[in-house]
Symmetry: C5
Subunit: 309 residues, 5 copies
């Protein structure tokens, strides 16, 4: 999760240590060949690795861009989930109306709003291939958990339950037909956001490109010592390592960014976001009833309000 | 289909083997001319191919970007199809209501939801220029198949059937006027997604650009041996092959990515996606009735619910 | 029109032949000056044209990107027109309902749907500054043609007629108020797509940029022979021509792509698209009535359907 | 305004003449120092300005892209205004209905439609910091002008008047509740387009970037003569001027593009667009009544139409 | 805040002074080593830093792009807030209708509109981690402030109050069901805009990339003096400083742009924007009643208007 505190550079440096060791051995060998055994015909003009370097730079820029876009889209989708859960809760609180069954109304709003929190946690775990049902008993009734545990895709099942409850509310006359359609549109947005996350999760960056870029960097690193040996001698080794590290690091970071639901430090912080959602929703639910009274005693002539109803 | 398992690098390497053989022969000939027959005036400064190399790198970056965008748009469209089929099924389950004809209602929802699965498979096959009717008898009635087989564009015909059935449901009073418009909007989204896929299928990447880029790479590869011969002698051959492979591979990969509906390993995995859709929809349909009972015995005072209906 | 069959490279090569002849003459003259008259002080280091070459490459990449975006947006707008005409026809078929005037209903749907085909052809011709009324008598009544011929912008007039007919249908009770608003939204989308095409047609790529890029390429080509003459002698001529061709070709292709409604081979294929639209709409209209019967005899208890109406 | 006729290259060349004179004097001085006073130690390798040249090229490409995006967004917003005014007029003509007050209805539609034309002109002048009320008496009543002249933001005031009139029409029963909401959505789109233009107008391109790019180009131009002097002698002067002109011109063009509402030749042609809007709206209003009759005598059985009303 | 007046180049130059001092000391030391102690083997070919320079240029271009996009998205979100507050106020003024309670209606519209201004200021302060309640007593009642002060996220609480008041208005019959849904959609847009700002605030640019880019520039600057020392001697010092300043400045500016809610001079000017919103809303509220009269005496037959009501 990319929060400000953790700087996983060392973590990523660890991921390329195999490549770095190989490059070190390789360039030391060439320096020895050149300096000790005087195999000097192997020097090549620096312009040759330069051409390759330009191509690879552009490919890495391309790959970084696409990886960043995937990562940012994943973040944006979870940002949209935050917005839509807030809007959904607000709609539940302001749309649902059961004049003679205030207790049932409150229970209904509570159940549906909490089920949406459960959906966030289930989606988060589902994307990471963890058990999506873990920890949901805090937000869902026993019946709900039984029901959704029969489904392959748990978040889809939760959204179906939401739809069924909104249908029931409509049939009971607690919401009108416009409000039903408006709530259904919000469910559709949840469906789209879930689908967007699944798309990012299930679509790999074209493997041909990935393999090719890795192969090009390798080719470049293999050529580099020959281009530098003439000028540097043994000093060539740290220079080659520094430049090789540069290229491998960019590649490695792009690979980490492009898959944001893999239990890595660079993931989209879906659990943290879900907690924020939970905090906001719970505050909206808990305080609600008190506010109804505040308003009643405040700006409006509330006797009239109940009369009209 | 770009799933994680298959790495079709060799597959793509096969596509450029003709070019590679030609480049090998060509650069060997020049090395022989230079080393054996001492035609040494042909050497040119490496800066000349470098200028061309920069231009070509930028053109390949441009082409890779557009190809990736087409491929990603195709994937996004199919992701949207997943979302909208789920939403459509949820809408059918929660909107349609026929108090005294529960059996007919269920048959109706089943038929319309399955027809939408058929639409996914038909669209998938239609985009690949295969027989779109193949295998649809699993999801469609005999009459439906007869009807749609008269159309040039089968998915359009299926959407028309969906519209006709929603019209019938509205006339029968099973959905209200808002729900009809909401379902019609979902059909419009299907229509847009289908049109988007057709657009990508039917629009070629500007052929002038494609031809030009190929021609530039050729020019560059033809010049390259002259720029390197002075420094390398016969060692020039593998260097030219390596650099030429780089450029031809990027070009080749962009060409493969840019047309994602052509029965190639890099295609958008439309069949796999359609299967996922089928799984989710079938689960939503099969379990639905049981849940109605679960809700009835659960949170609501269901005697009242049936009373109000 | 960019269909797969035609590869207009030669067509475009023809467009830059004037420049190529000038470049040939120019570089031959310099070679003669250098080799015959031994004016050797004119040689400049190759690094100078290289700096300019990098700048021009980036500018050409920028220009190619914008040109491609315009071209792709034009294609996307026409793709959206295809989708919306299909959706509009479906809406007409499923929304309009005149229980006791089936014949008039059918005539109405036919007239409005065909008028939308006419709109596609009129828009296509209007964008190309051709007579937009040409050939519309196939789809429009005499009165309609008289009416729209008084307008400067014929597609706007056709959309106005569509609005008037939908208003009439609403007044007659053939569509309800939601359906009127839904159909009006579809008309608004047609209006937006038309406006988008007009925007692309009427907005030139910033002429200062275009003129400047041309001027920079010229400057670069003028410098190039001086940079190469020292190494090549007379062989410099084909190299200069090859590189100059590269730059002029990219510029020329961008210019062709960026204006997609100009009667050129690289245009958006609006006529082909309009024909596809016509085919789909005609099939939807012709077969419709037969299907009503098929449904009636199929899944539904149709006696009840007419009873409820 | 970027129309096809005017090519303001000379206009822009004029903007950078100060820089060009300074560069000329500066490079002449260095050439004299080198050639006459033989201060030859000042020559530097051409590779140093080349590194800076690459960085500046990328920064200029970045800046050109952002400037183009701003300019294109401004153009797109005005294109959307064209579309929405057309749609708004169509909605007024087809939604508003006052069976027994045809004269008042026509006066109402005329007034509201013309007020929207006034909004276009007022917005156009407001963005350019000109008096927004100039010339509006052609489209607005005396009362309207008195009212809006009290506002700081005149286009906001005009939209408020539109809202008030639509409210009145709804209260009078001339439009139904769906139509009111649909018209309100169109007003919201106008509000968004106005806000988008104001955003572009009021947001400067980050001044730090702008200042920095200018400073880098200066640094580059100051270094350039030292890099070239060794090879060229006095011929260095025109080469430096040519390259400096290239960089200053791109910068200058980006600066001109990025602010499209400043009374410059490269502005978005808001007045021309407003005239086109006026032409279309006036034609739709003038011809409308005649068409009502044409339809009445045409396809419909119009006696029935009035009967149903 | 990026307004036209302030050019915080010096401000930013101050941010990199530590780096500049280190670079100066470092390059002076190398020049002394080379010139005084004649350690001449340390010179390296300029081509080596050039390769790194190209990679870094592309990475900085990538980073500048993403930083600009974040900054521009933040600005666009606040532009959308301006638009939506204006639209919301217009909707309040034209939707709410309480025939026999004009005074209460006016008080209601005033309260809700001003509460939206409070939301803008609270959001602005909340994003900057300042006390969001500061100064809100100007726009909110005592009860409202008590209520929202119990929430962690104050803007969410304000939107909840808005929803509660709209619900009350609907229950009182002051707005109809369509208008309730339309107003709710506007609230949803506010929720989305707030969420978008929070996303930008809470998501750091991938720290691995940021750390890596800094490390690469450092590597490049450390190598640079070795590449230049051979040609320049002591003159190398200012050249190294100039080039190092270039790279550090771009990096520094990107870092400043990418976080637009941090109390820096480059922030999105949320307070200025909120003031503009306040000005427009207050003018719309104050003048409204006078206009009702103006309309009444103007175009309409107002006796009829009140009669129909």
């Amino acid at each position: 999760m990319l929060l400000k505190e953790n700087i996983p550079v060392l973590y990523i440096l660890g991921k390329i240590k195999k490549e770095l060791i190989l490059v070190t051995v390789y360039s030391v060998l060439i320096a020895i060949m050149y300096n000790t055994f005087h195999v000097t015909r192997i020097s090549i003009p620096i312009a040759v690795p330069t051409i390759l370097g330009t191509v690879i730079s552009l490919l890495l820029a391309f790959k970084s861009n696409q990886a960043y876009d995937r990562w940012w889209e994943a973040r944006t989708l979870w940002g949209a989930i935050v917005n839509d859960v807030r809007s959904f809760t607000r709609q539940l609180l302001t749309f649902v109306d059961a004049p003679y069954h205030e207790g049932e109304r409150k229970a209904f709003v509570d159940r549906v709003a909490k089920r949406q929190i459960a959906w966030c946690f289930a989606l988060s775990r589902n994307l990471r291939k963890q058990d999506p049902l873990h920890g949901l008993e805090k937000y869902l009734s026993k019946e709900d958990i039984d029901y959704i545990s029969k489904y392959d895709n748990v978040p889809v099942a939760i959204l179906e339950l939401q739809g069924a409850d909104i249908r029931s509310a409509y049939k009971l006359g607690w919401i009108n037909e416009f409000q039903q359609v408006a709530l259904d549109e919000t469910l559709t947005r949840f469906s789209n956001e879930m689908g967007g996350c699944e798309r990012i999760k299930n679509t790999v960056f074209p493997v041909t490109y990935a393999a090719y870029i890795h192969f090009s960097i390798l080719l470049f690193v293999l050529m580099l010592p020959f281009g530098l040996i003439e000028y540097f001698g043994i000093v060539e080794v740290p220079v080659v390592i520094a430049i090789a590290t540069s290229f491998f690091l960019i590649e490695s970071m792009a690979i980490h960014l492009q898959d944001p639901f893999e239990n890595k430090p660079t993931d989209t912080p879906t659990i943290t976001i879900s907690r924020t959602i939970e905090r906001d929703v719970v505050q909206m639910l808990k305080e609600k009833e008190k506010y109804e009274l505040a308003v009643a005693g405040g700006g409006f002539n509330n006797s009239k309000m109940f009369y009209i109803l």
